[in-house]
Symmetry: C2
Subunit: 198 residues, 2 copies
C-alpha cells in the first residue's frame, strides 16, 4: 500500500480492524474522514474515547451505561419484580423498541458455550443470583434461540427453580409474517411443541 | 433510543453518519469500541484526527498525502512525462496495485456532473493544465466509464488537444473473465467499437 501516504495507510489499517469492515470499506471510510470538517472528526474521535472511558456496567442489571444505574433500573415506574435475562445490551434494546415490556432486565454479556470455553463463571450470572435476594416475581429468560442461548436458559432455570421464583422462557416458533415453506424443521417442531389453544 | 445511555447513543449517532453504516452496524461498532482496550480506542481516535489534520493535496498531482509531494511524484524513477488522470485517490491506488504503470498521476477529486452541479472549476483541472507547462508526452484519461467520467474525459481531451500533447483514454469493454451473456449492451457495443486487430 505504498501508493497511500503513511497516515492514510495507518488510518485504513486501524479502521479495517473493526468488525465487518474490510480493506475496501476501510479505504472508503478513511477518505470520507479526510474530507470531513476537522471539528466533526474531532467530535467523532472524542465521542469514541469518552464512551470507551465512561461506559461501564449498570450496578443493578449489568447493561452498559454511563451512569452507576442505567435509565431503566433508575426508573421507578418499571416493574422491578420482573427480570428479563438477555445476552447483551443490543438484545435489551430490541425488546425496549417494542415499548410493551414493563419489567427490568439483566444483561449476561454472553452465553454459556463449551465450544468457545465460556463457562457460567464468565457471564454475569453471579450478579443475577445476587438480585434474587430482593423481591422478584418472575425471571424471563430471553437468551437467543441458539445452542448457546438454550444451554444458558437451561442452566439459569436449574439455578433459579430451587428458590421458588417463577422462571419462564420466551416462545420459539414461526416468526410473524414467516412462510412455513421457508422455515427450518427445528423451528417448525418448536412451533408445534409450543402450540397454544385458540 | 432512551434504552441506550447518553454516551452510547451519542456514539451510535456519530457512527451512523459515516457512509455505508446504518443504525444496526453503528450499534455493533459502538459496542465493539466499548469493549476494546482503552489504548486501542485512543490510538484509533488519534489516527483519525491526525490523518484529517495532516493529509493535504500533493502540490504536484493533487492526490491526498501527508507530505508536500506524494511518494509517487517524489520518485525519480517514475516517468514524469506520462500523466494518468483519475477521479480520486482510490482509483490511483487501483492502478498502482497492478504494479505495471510507470508514469505519474493527476487526481481530479471528482468528475464534471451537470446533474450534481459540478463544473470544470470544481475539480482539479486548473492544476492539470498548469502541469502541462513542463515537458509532458502523454495524458492518459482514466476517469470512470460513467456518464460523468466520459463527460470529463471529453472535456479534458478538448482542452489538451490544441497544445499538441497526446491524449488517450483507457479502453472500455468486456472485463477479463466476464461472460458476454451477462454484459450490458452499451459495454458490448463499446467492446465492438474498440476492437483491435489480432
Amino acid at each position: 500500500m505504498d501508493y497511500y501516504s503513511n497516515q492514510i495507510r495507518k488510518l485504513i489499517d486501524e479502521l479495517s480492524r473493526l468488525p465487518g469492515i474490510g480493506t475496501k470499506s476501510a479505504a472508503r471510510l478513511a477518505f470520507h474522514l479526510i474530507h470531513m470538517p476537522v471539528p466533526d472528526v474531532k467530535r467523532l474521535a472524542g465521542t469514541m474515547v469518552e464512551a470507551r472511558e465512561n461506559v461501564r456496567y449498570c450496578k443493578e442489571c449489568c447493561t452498559l451505561t454511563d451512569q452507576d444505574l442505567c435509565p431503566i433500573c433508575a426508573n421507578a415506574d418499571r416493574d422491578h419484580k420482573t427480570i428479563m435475562v438477555v445476552e447483551n445490551t443490543r438484545d435489551l434494546a430490541a425488546y425496549e423498541k417494542t415499548g410493551k415490556y414493563e419489567g427490568v432486565y439483566h444483561v449476561l454479556h454472553g452465553a454459556i458455550s463449551p465450544m468457545l470455553g465460556i463457562g457460567p463463571g464468565d457471564i454475569k450470572l453471579k450478579e443475577l443470583i445476587a438480585r434474587l435476594e430482593k423481591e422478584v416475581d418472575e425471571v424471563i429468560v430471553a437468551t437467543n434461540s441458539s445452542l448457546e442461548g438454550e444451554t444458558t436458559a437451561m442452566y439459569i432455570s436449574k439455578l433459579i427453580k430451587p428458590t421458588g421464583i417463577k422462571v419462564s422462557r420466551i416462545a420459539s416458533g414461526v416468526p410473524v409474517g414467516g412462510d412455513l415453506e421457508y422455515i427450518d424443521e427445528v423451528t417448525l417442531l418448536r412451533a408445534l411443541d409450543g402450540r397454544t389453544e385458540l
